[in-house]
């Protein structure tokens, strides 16, 4: 193999990489849309009065945090197959990534809830608000502001770790690189292009989320200063 960059890999692989990138983005969007509410439930379990719920949340989150995603994918995909539950790689990939994302979000949300000052919950309870309402209307909205950086991290981790799904032949971006490599026999170019595409997706996502978070922050401040009688907005 010669050490030069073969441009024909790019022209040949462009449609394959494009499809792969779309698939990776779709997988991560699905995993985020389902993983966030699931993660919220698990995080709420961590704060439950019931010991069994707290135990369940810990028993769910810790294994996902302390084992490689690769092993999780193998275990769920081949483990379920051995039990007679056979899924297509696409379905399996979406399910595996969603479970993983719910564990990651659960930790991020737990951190977010903890960073809301305790007095917020206590005063809401003191004025007679039920726990669930206080959580939903007082703690949760504030938590979203605190956890913007953590959620960005989770989503970018999802994008990157989803590459490991290629080992169970889920058709996404890393798999696209493998396909192009097999077709062109130019592995260095194939993985370099894939790296560039991943880098564009992750930096784009990071910039996008921080833009939206800043906008929301500014809008909220404007709204607060308009609606207040001059005390809240200051």
């Amino acid at each position: 193999m010669e050490a030069y960059f073969d441009l024909s890999v790019l022209t040949y692989g462009a449609p394959i990489f494009f499809k792969g990138a779309l698939a990776t983005i779709t997988f991560c969007v699905v995993a985020t849309l389902f993983g966030f509410p699931l993660g919220t439930l698990i995080a709420l379990c961590r704060f439950s009065k019931l010991r069994i719920l707290r135990g369940f949340a810990l028993a769910f989150v810790e294994p996902f945090r302390n084992t490689p995603f690769l092993v999780q994918a193998f275990l769920i995909y081949f483990g379920l197959a051995q039990l007679g539950i056979r899924m297509s790689p696409v379905v399996a990939g979406a399910i595996i990534l969603t479970i993983y994302s719910s564990a990651l979000f659960a930790e991020a949300i737990r951190g977010g809830i903890l960073s809301v000052p305790r007095g917020q919950m206590e005063s809401a309870r003191a004025v007679g608000m039920p726990y669930a309402t206080a959580m939903r209307r007082i703690v949760f909205p504030q938590m979203l502001g605190y956890m913007a950086p953590a959620s960005t991290n989770v989503i970018i981790t999802l994008i990157k770790d989803s590459a490991a799904l290629a080992v169970i032949t889920v058709p996404e971006l890393a798999m696209a690189a493998q396909t192009v490599m097999g077709d062109t026999f130019r592995p260095v170019e194939a993985y370099l292009i894939a790296a560039v595409v991943y880098w564009l997706i992750t930096t784009g996502t990071g910039a996008g989320i921080s833009y939206v978070a800043n906008r929301m922050d500014t809008l909220r401040k404007i709204r607060l200063s308009q609606s207040s009688t001059g005390r809240v907005g200051q």
Binding site: A3, L75, Y198
Partner: protein, 213 residues
Amino acid sequence: MLTGLPELLEATQTTAVASILAIALALVIGLATAAARQSQWLILRKIAGFYVSVIRGTPLYIQILGIYFLLPSLGIDIPRFATGVIALGLNSGSYISEMIGGAVTSISKGQTEAARALAMPMSTIQRRIILPQALRLMLPPLTLEFTALVKNSAFLSIIGVVELTRTAQQIISVSFQPTQTWIAVAIIYFVLCFVLGLVARYLERSFSVQAAR
């Protein structure tokens, strides 16, 4: 009963050795990168920033395969294990450089100013005033990074390094017991990472107690 348990335990050693070598490499790379990012030369700062951005923005899976195929095409022929350790070290080094950068900037400016006032040269200040304090701050996150590295070492299996994950695949191809084997592998990783996590928490607590005094 699970077949291949002794092999799995033996392969755990390979995982551990690879992780330890990689974290050592990552510390060197991280320190060099953090220094480069504070350098007075723009080009060094740019290169270091680019390296961190690329590594943090792309999957380790792609990095390992990319390096695995890139090295021979550059005429460098080294064993897979070495390739894997280099890839893991390069990956982790970028995260560690961010940690070092964060810890160094969180050391109060008064420390540098006081040392300057005593006519200490800048390089000595870095080495004897800033770094020792920053290291103490960094030890808990560094332990967590080591946990991440142990988990990431599973990716070495895709380039054929016979560590824990690869050994599991080999055992399964003979025993046809994927569920049992993967659960056993998950438990081994869990124990390694969970213990490291406890160490990190212990370090954090003991340092915050010291700081409070």
